[in-house]
C-alpha cells in the first residue's frame, strides 16, 4: 500500500479524470513532460501533472530579481486574491524560474515566503533541469524575434493564460489593469452558454448606462 502510494505520488500518476485535454491540445509535444521540482521539492511532470486539461496561468521569474519580478509577483498576488475561490480547483498559477542553475526549490520557497505567496493553494513555483526550463520557456514564450527570444529576462513581465481543456492560449501583461487581466483569464474559460453570454452582456449595458448617467460619458464600463 505504502509502496503504491509512493509510486503514484509523482511519476506516472494516472491522469486526473477531472481535467480532460481539448482535441487540439498539443500535449507534451509543446509543453514537454519534463520532470520539474516545485518549491516544496516535489517532483512533477510538467504536462501530465500540471497542464493536462487544466486552466493555468504561467509567468517567468527568478529569485534574485529586483526589477520587474517583485512588482509582477505583487500584482499576481492581487489577481490571486480576486480569483481565490477558483485557485487550486479549476485554475492554477505557475511561476517558473528562468535561472534554474541558481534557483533550487529552497530558493523558490524562500522567494514565495518573502512575497507572502507561500502556502497558497494552486500557486506553484517551479524549477528543473536548465535544458528543460529553457525548452519550456522557448516553446511557450517565444515571440519569433531573435533578440527578444534569446534574452531570458525578456518575458518576466508576460503572463501566459493557457487552458488545455479548451485549447485557448492567451497572454496578458501583468502591469495591465486588474479588470483587463481578469477579462483575459476569463477568455480561456470553457465556452459559456448563449444565455450566460446574454446575461453578462445585459449587465455590461446596465453598467454603461450607469456610467453615462454618473459622468456623462463612459469612464470605466
Amino acid at each position: 500500500m505504502k509502496r503504491r502510494a509512493f509510486f503514484t505520488s509523482f511519476v506516472g500518476k494516472p491522469p486526473d479524470e477531472q481535467f480532460k485535454p481539448a482535441r487540439g491540445s498539443p500535449g507534451p509535444t509543446i509543453f514537454t513532460n519534463a520532470l520539474l521540482r516545485t518549491h516544496e521539492n516535489k517532483q512533477v511532470r510538467f504536462y501530465d501533472d500540471l497542464i493536462r486539461g487544466r486552466h493555468v496561468l504561467i509567468n517567468l521569474m527568478y529569485a534574485d530579481c529586483h526589477g520587474a519580478c517583485p512588482v509582477v509577483t505583487e500584482r499576481l498576488l492581487k489577481v490571486y486574491s480576486e480569483l481565490k475561490d477558483r485557485m487550486g480547483k479549476n485554475l492554477f498559477l505557475y511561476s517558473m524560474t528562468v535561472k534554474p542553475e541558481d534557483d533550487d526549490p529552497a530558493a523558490l520557497k524562500n522567494y514565495a515566503e518573502m512575497h507572502r505567496a507561500y502556502g497558497l493553494p494552486g500557486w506553484t513555483f517551479l524549477t528543473g533541469d536548465p535544458y528543460d526550463m529553457e525548452t519550456i520557456r522557448f516553446n511557450l514564450f517565444r515571440m519569433d524575434h531573435i533578440a527578444i527570444d534569446l534574452d531570458i529576462y525578456a518575458h518576466t513581465s508576460t503572463l501566459k493564460i493557457i487552458n488545455d481543456g479548451t485549447n485557448r492560449w492567451l497572454h496578458v501583461d501583468p502591469m495591465a489593469s486588474f479588470s483587463t487581466i481578469l477579462r483575459k483569464i476569463s477568455w480561456a474559460d470553457p465556452p459559456k452558454s448563449f444565455a450566460e453570454k446574454l446575461e453578462a452582456n445585459k449587465k455590461l449595458q446596465e453598467k454603461i448606462n450607469k456610467e453615462k448617467k454618473l459622468w456623462g460619458y463612459r469612464k470605466d464600463a
Partner: protein, 678 residues
C-alpha cells in the same frame, strides 16, 4: 443530412427565427434593389455580380477545425507555380434588411453587444444596411494548395467589399459567429474597426468593446464628411475632407494580429461626386479609373506561411501555433492568392493597395518583363486624395512605394506604356529595417524569377472601355491645416535591457520633450484608463516620436477618428533613447504622400529617432478613441492608448483634473499644467 446534427435537439426559439428569416429574404430583394439605387451603387454592382468566387462557403458551424502542423522545425510553405491563378476581386457586400431592426440604443434583449447609444442617429438614419458575419471558412490560396482554414467576414477572405456613397448613411451589422471553442490560434471575441472612418466611438471598434461569439453589433457609419457641425449642404460636412478607400478589420485588444492573420478584414469604399463609381464625365468628377473589378481593383496584401499540404484532412493549413503570435512568413497573398496574374488592356487602371500586415512593411514598385522599373502614379494616400499626385519611378526620387501596415495607397498604372503581349510585375523591395538583430525575412523561395514578385499584369490588348483622361496635375483642394491649439506629445518606445524589450508602450507628455513625463507614462493599454482628453471642435498639435534607435523598430502609428496633416518631420541627429535635444532635430524630406501641404494621413510611419508633428481637429463625435502602433504585434503588446473626445469645457476640465489626480496618486507628476486644463 448528417448524423450528429440529427442528434442535437434544436431549441424552440430558432424555429421562429428561421421563419422570420425566410419572410425577410422574400421581401428583401425588391427593397434591396431600391436601396442599391439609392446608394448610387447600382452602376457599380453590375460588373461585380459577374465576378465569381471559388472559395468554398460552408454553412455556419460546419467547417472542420484545423489540424495544426508541428511547429518545430518551422515549416517552409509548400512550393507553388507563379502566375497561374487570376487576381480575385473581393465580392461586394450586398445590402440587406436586418432582423431585428437596428435601434439607437443597443438591442441587448435580442443579442446586440452592449454599447452607447448611436450618436447622430436621427440625423443619419441608415438608408442602407449590411450584415457581415465573422465566421470560419476555408479559402484556397493557390491552385497547387488545398483549401486553408481561416476566419473571415461571411466566411470569405478577403471579406466582402462594402461599396457606399457619401450622403447615404449605412449600418453594418457585424455578427460574431466565430467558433467557440476553437482549435485555431484566433480568439473568438471581436470588435470591428473601420479604418479610418470618421465614426462615432460606439461604432469605431474600440479595442475594449469586444463581444462574444453569438452576439452581434451594429456599426453606424454616417458616410458624411468630417465637419458636419460646421458645414451644411449635401452630403453633410466639408467635402474637402473626403476619404475614399477604407478597410475594416478585427481590432480585438491584445489579439488583433492572430485574428487578422486568419483573415478578418475587408475593404470599404465610399464614392462621391469627386470620385464616383463611373468614368464618364459628370460635374466635379476627377475621372479616374473607377469601375470596381474592371478598371479599379482592391489589392490586399497579407503575409502568410503554410503547413505542408495534408491530403488526409484535405487542407493546406495556415501555419499557426496556438498560443504564439502570428508567425514569420514566407508568402504574400494578394487578394487571397499567391502570385496571381491579371489581364489588363492598354489603358489606366486604379489599384487600391492595402497592406494588412500583420507586421511587416511592403515596399512595391512596378517593373517590366526585363526587370526595368516603370512609373506608377500615387493619387491617394490612406484613402485621401493628394493635392498633387506623386510618381513612383526610377527618376522621380521615389523608386519604391512604402506601404506600411494599414496604410492604403490608390495607385494608377497606365498600361498604355506597354505593348500588347508584354507583361509587367508588381515587385516587392524591402529595404527598410523592420527586424532588429534577426535575419531579414527570407525572400520568397519558390517561383520567383526576378526578386520578390507579387503579381503579374498581362497586357492582352487595346482598351475596350475608353481610357480615362490624363490624371489631373491638381487633384483636389485640401482643407486648411487646422490651427495649432495646444501641444501634446506621444512617444513610442520599447525599452531594452532588464526592463523587458517585449514591452511596447505609448508614453505621453503635455510638455514638449519632457522625458520625466514620458517615463512616468510607460503603461500598458488599458481600455479603462484615459491618457489624454480633447474638446470636441478643438484642434491640437500632436507630436509622434519614435524613441527607439535608428534602424530599430519602425512604428506605423495610427490615430482613430480624424485625418492629420503632417507639418514637420525630423530626425534626431544625436540618437538618444530618452528623447532628443530640440537642437539636434534635423528636418527629413517628405514624399508627396506625407507632406501635410499635399496629403492627409491616418498612418504615420515613424522610424527610430524620428518625430512627426501633426495637426488634428476633433470634430462631430465624442467618446473613446485610440492611438496605437499598427504593427499588429506591437498593438497586441499594448503599444496603444485610449484618448477621449468630450462635449464641453466643464467635462474637459474635470477629466483633465482627474487624470492629474490619478497620476499624482501613482506617485507621478501631473500631466497637464494649469494652463492646459482648459
Amino acid at each position: 443530412m448528417s448524423g450528429p446534427r440529427d442528434k442535437k435537439k434544436r431549441p424552440e426559439a430558432s424555429k421562429s427565427e428561421k421563419e422570420k428569416y425566410f419572410e425577410l429574404s422574400r421581401m428583401s430583394r425588391r427593397k434591396m434593389l431600391k436601396l442599391t439605387a439609392a446608394a448610387g451603387a447600382g452602376t457599380v454592382l453590375s460588373p461585380m455580380i459577374l465576378t465569381s468566387r471559388k472559395s468554398t462557403v460552408y454553412a455556419q458551424g460546419t467547417v472542420p477545425e484545423p489540424e495544426l502542423c508541428p511547429a518545430t522545425p518551422v515549416p517552409q510553405s509548400p512550393p507553388h507555380t507563379p502566375f497561374v491563378d487570376d487576381l480575385p476581386v473581393p465580392s461586394p457586400a450586398l445590402p440587406q434588411l436586418l432582423s431585428p431592426t437596428p435601434t439607437k440604443a443597443a438591442n441587448t434583449d435580442n443579442g446586440e453587444a452592449a454599447r452607447d447609444d448611436h450618436q447622430r442617429w436621427e440625423e443619419f438614419t441608415p438608408a442602407v444596411t449590411y450584415q457581415l458575419e465573422a465566421r470560419a471558412g476555408t479559402h484556397q490560396f493557390h491552385r497547387d494548395y488545398l483549401p486553408s482554414y481561416g476566419w473571415g467576414f461571411n466566411g470569405l477572405y478577403p471579406g466582402p467589399t462594402v461599396l457606399n456613397a457619401y450622403g447615404v448613411p449605412s449600418l453594418v451589422r457585424f455578427k460574431n459567429s466565430l467558433p467557440d471553442p476553437t482549435q485555431s490560434f484566433g480568439t473568438p471575441q471581436t470588435t470591428v474597426h473601420l479604418h479610418n472612418g470618421h465614426t462615432a466611438s460606439e461604432s469605431d471598434g474600440f479595442a475594449g468593446d469586444f463581444f462574444d461569439s453569438g452576439l452581434f453589433k451594429d456599426n453606424h457609419y454616417a458616410n458624411a464628411y468630417a465637419g458636419i457641425d460646421d458645414f451644411g449642404g449635401f452630403p453633410k460636412g466639408d467635402p474637402r475632407e473626403a476619404m475614399h478607400t477604407f478597410w475594416y478589420h478585427d481590432h480585438l485588444m491584445a489579439e488583433t494580429q492572430n485574428n487578422n492573420y486568419l483573415g478578418m478584414n475587408g475593404m470599404y469604399i465610399a464614392y462621391d461626386q469627386t470620385d464616383p463609381p463611373w468614368e464618364f464625365n459628370t460635374p466635379g468628377s476627377l475621372r479616374l479609373p473607377a469601375y470596381y473589378g474592371v478598371t479599379d481593383f482592391p489589392v490586399v496584401f497579407l503575409r502568410q506561411r503554410f503547413c505542408p499540404t495534408n491530403p488526409t484532412t484535405g487542407r493546406t493549413e495556415k501555419f499557426q501555433v496556438v498560443g504564439a503570435a502570428a508567425p514569420g512568413t514566407d508568402k504574400v497573398a494578394v487578394n487571397g492568392k499567391l502570385q496571381p496574374k491579371l489581364s489588363v488592356r492598354r489603358r489606366k487602371y486604379r489599384f487600391r493597395m492595402l497592406n494588412t500586415g500583420v507586421a511587416a512593411l511592403m515596399s512595391v514598385a512596378l517593373v517590366d518583363g526585363n526587370g526595368a522599373q516603370k512609373p506608377m502614379t500615387v493619387v491617394a494616400a490612406d484613402g485621401n486624395f493628394l493635392h498633387t499626385p506623386g510618381v513612383v519611378s526610377a527618376t522621380s526620387g521615389f523608386p519604391q512605394l512604402d506601404i506600411h501596415v494599414a496604410s492604403r495607397f490608390d495607385v494608377i498604372i497606365d498600361f498604355s506604356q506597354f505593348a500588347v503581349g508584354q507583361v509587367a510585375y508588381l515587385k516587392e523591395i524591402t529595404t527598410t529595417p523592420q527586424f532588429v538583430s534577426s535575419p531579414a525575412p527570407p525572400p520568397l523561395s519558390d517561383g520567383t524569377p526576378i526578386g520578390a514578385l507579387l503579381m503579374r499584369f498581362d497586357i492582352i490588348g487595346d482598351a475596350t472601355i475608353p481610357d480615362t483622361p490624363a490624371i489631373p496635375s491638381t487633384l483636389v483642394e485640401l482643407p486648411p491645416i487646422p490651427p495649432a491649439g495646444t501641444y501634446f506629445e506621444w512617444g513610442f518606445r520599447n525599452i531594452a535591457g532588464n526592463n523587458p524589450p517585449g514591452n511596447f508602450r505609448v508614453t505621453h507628455s503635455a510638455i514638449p520633450e519632457n522625458d520625466a513625463n514620458h517615463d512616468a507614462t510607460f503603461l500598458p493599454f488599458d481600455p479603462f484608463r484615459i491618457d489624454h482628453v480633447v474638446l470636441k471642435g478643438s484642434s491640437e498639435t500632436w507630436a509622434i516620436r519614435n524613441d527607439t534607435m535608428l534602424g530599430n523598430w519602425l512604428h506605423p502609428v495610427h490615430i482613430h477618428l480624424e485625418e492629420g496633416r503632417i507639418i514637420e518631420k525630423t530626425i534626431c541627429s544625436v540618437p538618444n533613447a530618452d528623447g532628443c535635444n530640440p537642437a539636434n532635430r534635423t528636418p527629413v524630406a517628405m514624399p508627396p504622400w506625407e507632406d501635410g501641404n499635399n496629403a492627409r494621413r491616418d498612418v504615420y510611419p515613424t522610424q527610430g529617432q524620428e518625430r512627426f508633428v501633426i495637426r488634428l481637429k476633433f470634430r462631430d463625435f465624442v467618446g473613446r478613441y485610440l492611438i496605437h502602433c499598427h504593427n499588429m504585434g506591437h498593438e497586441d503588446a499594448f503599444m496603444m492608448v485610449r484618448w477621449d473626445v468630450v462635449e464641453d469645457l466643464a467635462t474637459l476640465r474635470r477629466t483633465r483634473e482627474q487624470i492629474n489626480a490619478e497620476r499624482v496618486a501613482r506617485g507621478d507628476t501631473p500631466l497637464y499644467r494649469k494652463e492646459d486644463l482648459g
